[in-house]
Amino acid sequence: MPELDENLRAARRADFRVWEYLLLLLVAGLVVFAAPIPKMGIVALIFAAAVAKAGLVVRNYMHLRHEHLLLYLIAFVPVLLFVGLTLTLLPDIALRQ
């Protein structure tokens, strides 16, 4: 079944491409980490990189790209929720006197 093989090879190539991007972002993060810029800037950039990495994995490796909206909701409502929780606690726990 040659065309089956063909699909397989195509899929593998796609996954490998994603992995290359992940690697690129990892290196970028480390470069930023070493770069002589203010700490807050470093943290912001590194987190941008992490979010990008996570996005790549979720969309491609976890195929959320092809899934029903329901699965998006199941995945992202909790994320919003704990981010919201953390933000709400800022005045109480992070910025306490």
């Binding site: 899929a11 993060g29 199941i74 704990f82």
Partner: protein, 200 residues
């Protein structure tokens, strides 16, 4: 609610796309949702307390970011092999499936090995969970994550054994995908732990 007024009392089944999703997949995603909340709560607490203490930059200098980076590389690569295993399953390519599941297990074990070495190094340097709050969080976060990696390795091993025996193929087919979802989730958790713990 359909009443007799609004619709004839008969099967009025609009195409139900939600019911069409494989139940196993929905279940795994719900499970991942609960895991997101657990790690989210822990990471949130870490960020909040860390901010309250002005960033803990001095304490954070005692973790070895090079090892962390290496482990990130290992885990990212294991995600690739896991993804390849899923591709293999889709194309019913048993040989590839065996290879890539095995590679994923191997990389997972490598990750744990490096982590164990790192722990022993830090502890011998006198940094334990009781040393200070940064290391308390460090060991809790990475330790909880390591347990999840271990769980993933166990799942992959079981599937690998099934693949080697070549039994129950239709059942494995789905399970490899679900194990993959879990494995990638564990990878994502690390993607965030790495900058949080090592680089900030």
């Amino acid at each position: 609610m359909d009443t007799l007024a609004t619709s004839p009392s008969d099967v009025a089944v609009e195409p139900d796309r939600i019911r069409a999703i494989p139940q196993g997949k929905v279940g795994v995603w719900w499970f991942l949702a609960s895991e997101i909340m657990i790690f989210g709560g822990l990471i949130g607490s870490f960020i909040l307390i860390r901010l309250a203490h002005g960033g803990w930059h001095a304490e954070a200098d005692h973790v070895h970011w090079r090892i962390g980076a290496l482990n990130t590389l290992v885990l990212l690569t294991s995600s690739l092999t896991m993804a390849w295993a899923c591709d293999a399953v889709k194309e019913r390519d048993q040989r590839a499936l065996k290879t890539f599941l095995f590679l994923t297990m191997l990389l997972g074990l490598t990750f744990l090995g490096i982590k164990a070495f790192e722990y022993s190094w830090e502890i011998s340097d006198g940094f334990t969970p009781a040393t200070n709050l940064f290391f308390a969080f460090y060991f809790t976060l990475t330790g909880l994550h390591a347990c999840h990696v271990l769980g993933g390795i166990v799942a992959n091993t079981l599937l690998w054994l099934c693949a080697v025996r070549g039994r129950r193929w239709p059942m494995i087919q789905h399970r490899v995908e679900f194990a993959g979802l879990y494995w990638h989730f564990v990878d994502i958790v690390w993607i965030f732990l790495f900058p949080l713990v090592y680089l900030s």
